[in-house]
Every structure is written in C-alpha cells, then in structure tokens.
Amino acid sequence: MIGDPYSERVRALFDAPVHAGVLEGAPMVTVDDQGVRVQLSADIGDGSITAMRFLAWGCPHVIAAAESVCAGCEGRAVVDLETFVVAELMQSLPVPVEKSGRIIVIEDAVRSLGATLRKNPTSD
C-alpha cells in the first residue's frame, strides 16, 4: 500500500482530541476487546448528555472515532445511547474495513454507557 492511511478528519481528531479525559465522579464504563481499550464517562442533565469524555488505547482510527463519538453524543438524549451505531461514523472518517471490529468496540462502550446511565444516572 502506498499513500496516507489516514484522512484529514482522522488526523485532525487524533491531533486534537479535546474530549480525551475523565469526568470525575461521573458514571463510567470500560470495554476491553479486539486489542482495544475504551473508557467512556458522561454527565447528564434533564435526560441529555451534557458532557462526555473518553480514554482509549488503540490505533489512530480508534482514538479519532472515540473523539468524534464524544463530540457527537453531547446534547443527545441518554436513551439514544443504547441504540447507538457506528456505521455512519465508519464511513465518514473513514475507517478501513479491516479495522471495523475495533470501532465496534466503541459502539459497545456507548451502548454500555447508555445502560449504565439509565440504571444509575449519577456515580456513587
């Protein structure tokens, strides 16, 4: 293969992951699968995500996808998280087909976070 394996969007998200971090005291989930570790935490208010942060160990596509997901989820209804899909994100970044399994780990993490928030909207 010759050429840049990363789109401009992936590079921009990887270079400036403004949502990287942890929301102290907020509900949090971690998924470790497919050689990828993703941790998500979120604050909610009035049934919506007010802030969302990620930590990720993975390739640049994983980090870029996690950043994009956090940015996209803020402002959305908590109930939407449990039906979240990454298909559109995989096309828009784009993510090479051989890495799709890694990005689905993020989908799992978002859905898991949605379930956690539904059961326990505040951290204990």
Binding site: P5, Y6, F14, T30, Q39, L55, A56, W57, C59, I63
Partner: protein, 391 residues
C-alpha cells in the same frame, strides 16, 4: 534532514537520499550526446557506455576488496536475493535439498525460502538469541549431509543486529555448504573484505548507500564450486545470469556511491555511533522503554526501542513530523507485530510498540534532539489518553 515542510527523516535504513555527486554522474549519462548506448552493443558508442559499467564494477570491487568481474548487476537487493537463493538451490538440488536460514531475515529472503519449501526443498529456520545474533554452534548443529545452502543476513534491517559472518563462513566452508549473505544493510556502511571473507554470494543495493533506487548487485565468488542458475531469461547479458539491457546511469551511480562510501566509512560509523548514543541516552529513562538489540554489537546507525503499554500505530502518527519506522519499511502498512522482534522473544505488545530510528549522513544533533523530545511527548500524550488495564 530538515526541509521546508519540517519533516525530520530518521529512516535511512529504508532508503537514503542520492549523493549530489552521484546525481551528477548519472545525469551526465542520460541525455542526448551522453554515453547512452547499450553497453552490450559492439559498436563504438556501446563500447563507450561499457566503460562506465566497467568503472562502476571497479569502484564497487574496491569498496569490497574483490575483483570487478565478480558482480552481476540487478534491480536491487530483492532481486539479488532471489537470484542467489533460487539460483544456488536449483543448481545444487541434485546433491541435496536441505537449506538453512534464519527467522529474522528480510522478507526478500524469507519469502524465497517459503517458495522453495513449496517446491519440495527442506528448510531449517534458525532462531537468534535475544539480541538477534545467531549462535554459530546452532548453525553447525543444523548442517546435514544434504545441506546445500545457508543464507544469513549481515546486518538486520530492523534491529541492526550484526552476525559474525566470518565464523559463519568458516563453518560453511568446513562443511562444503554455499553461503549467501544479504548485505543490503551493510555494504558501504561497514568494512567488508571479500578477499579474506570466504562467502560465496552477497546481495547488495545502491539506495541504502546514497546511490539510486533500482540498481543492485550480486557478488559471486570466484570458486569452482560456486555456480547459480538464472531465474530470468531473455538474452545473453551478464553471462546469461541476468538478461536485460544494463541500466548504465544507475550502475554508474552505484559505482560512484560505492567510491564515496569507501572514503568515509570509518568517519560515518563514528559519527552515527555518537548520534545513536545521544538518542538512546535521551529516551532510555522513559519508564517502560526497552532496547531491542545490543548496542555493543549492532550497527551504530540503528536504534530499535519498544515501550510498555503504547499502541505502535498511534505512536508512529504521534511522532510526526518525525519519519521513523515500525518494523521494516517494506512492512510499514502492515500493523502485525514484527516477526523479527517476536523471534527475539518480545511479546506481541512489545513488538507492536517498536520504533526503528535509523540514522544517516545528513542526520544532525538537532534532528536527534527533536526526536528525543517528540518521542517523550508522544509517549506521555498516549499514556495520558489510555485507560488503566483491568486488573
């Protein structure tokens, strides 16, 4: 190397820039009015072209202290490896079909042996020690009555590990087995004296020693028992071993690059060793950094390091505009852990986080200092972004 777009190139084991004197030599042989004729032609123009090929052979022979008529010109080390290994194995197969090589060879050797396995040859794959060096006793133990060829690289392209070719050659000579050496990473970089080194076949390429891409050579020792069969057909050039019109400008460039290397080899080694020490001293104290190889025995222009709990592909991108490699350049889009580092006993995650810094003549202290700072920052940034592993 710093250019306007601020790329810092530390990937000289992949390829080097062409020396300006080499460019001048090649340019003078390329246009109308130049000695562009086919050097195999018997007319006066052909003979004039032929003098440039002969001069290049003399320059290369001088670098390696051998005779100019011992080289077959090829397109590069990959072709030289194919010609040497396939050619020797097929020529000697009536005597036996056992071959020996190492698990840490370049793909241009590994894949040729895999092909020979498919064709019914029996290959023994030797493992080096943890620093990448072959124990010659292991080689001796692997040699059988039907062994015909041993192929061992001189300097490993990923770790810089240097094999003891002299002892390996003596072992092969004692057992009447041909020895091929892939010297793509050492010709023009380390002293090699073919007049005293009893090797039979040596692969080399120009673009690793500030020559052009697209030209290499295979050295064939002048011994009664050293013969190979061609793997390409189509003309009588080069004793029918490698047909095709010779690329005179590229060959002349290769010769010029060899002559330049002859005159500065020791200085280059000392300079690169100083830079590598500076680089290693700048990053060795980062928690979890691990050296792949042994600095006391490896080629001084190369440093390969792994770091705990960092994803290699992200590390490579975070290091930009530093141009370095994970594994070999030929493999740079394949994110599988390096098979070379796995053979040295590194775990998948250690091998996957490995970065190869390879230094060259244009490398400066400021390049090294930039690399140190960039590596420290990239590791810190990725660690800060990574969740804890589950207990």
């Amino acid at each position: 190397m710093t250019s306007d777009d601020r790329l810092i190139y530390l990937d000289y084991a992949a390829t080097t820039p062409v020396d300006p004197r080499v460019i001048e030599t090649m340019s003078a042989l390329s246009g109308e009015g130049a000695d562009f004729a086919n050097p195999s032609a018997v007319h006066a123009a052909g003979r004039r072209s032929g003098t440039h090929v002969a001069r290049a052979a003399t320059q290369l022979a001088s670098l390696l202290n051998t005779q100019p008529d011992r080289f077959v010109w090829t397109s590069g080390a990959t072709e030289s490896n194919n010609l040497a290994i396939l050619g020797a194995a097929r020529h000697r197969q009536h005597r036996g079909k056992h071959l020996i090589t190492m698990l840490t060879e370049h793909k241009a050797v590994i894949d040729v042996f895999r092909e020979l396995e498919r064709q019914g040859f029996d290959v023994t794959w030797l493992n080096p020690d943890a620093s990448g060096v072959l124990d010659v006793a292991d080689l001796e133990a692997a040699i059988r009555d039907d062994t015909q060829l041993v192929s061992i690289m001189h300097v490993n392209n990923e770790t810089g590990a240097q094999q003891d070719i002299e002892r390996i050659a003596e072992c092969c000579l004692e057992h009447d087995v041909l020895l091929h050496v892939d010297a793509a990473q050492s010709v023009g970089k380390l002293p090699i004296d073919l007049s005293s080194l009893p090797v039979d076949l040596v692969s080399m390429t120009a673009h690793k020693l500030y020559g052009p891409k697209g030209v290499g050579a295979l050295y064939i020792a002048d011994k009664p028992d050293v013969h190979i069969e061609p793997v390409m057909f189509g003309g009588g050039q080069q004793r029918r071993l490698r047909p095709g019109t010779l690329a005179v400008p590229l060959i002349a460039g290769f010769g010029q690059a060899a002559e330049i290397a002859s005159g500065r080899l020791e200085d280059d080694l000392e300079y690169l060793g100083t830079l590598r020490s500076r680089l290693w001293n700048g990053i060795r104290d980062i928690p979890g950094v691990q050296l792949n190889g042994d600095l006391s025995t490896s080629y001084p222009g190369l440093l390969n390091v792994s770091v705990d709990d960092i994803e290699g592909e992200s590390l490579l991108l975070a290091l930009e505009p530093l141009c370095v490699a994970t594994g070999s350049a030929c493999n740079s889009h394949n994110q599988d852990p390096s098979y070379v580092l796995r053979a040295l006993g590194r775990s998948d995650s250690e091998a996957q986080s490995a970065i190869r810094f390879s230094l060259g003549r244009p490398s400066s202290k400021s390049d090294i200092d930039f690399a140190i700072s960039q590596y420290q920052n990239a590791v810190a940034r990725l660690r800060a972004m990574a969740p804890e592993r589950a207990a």
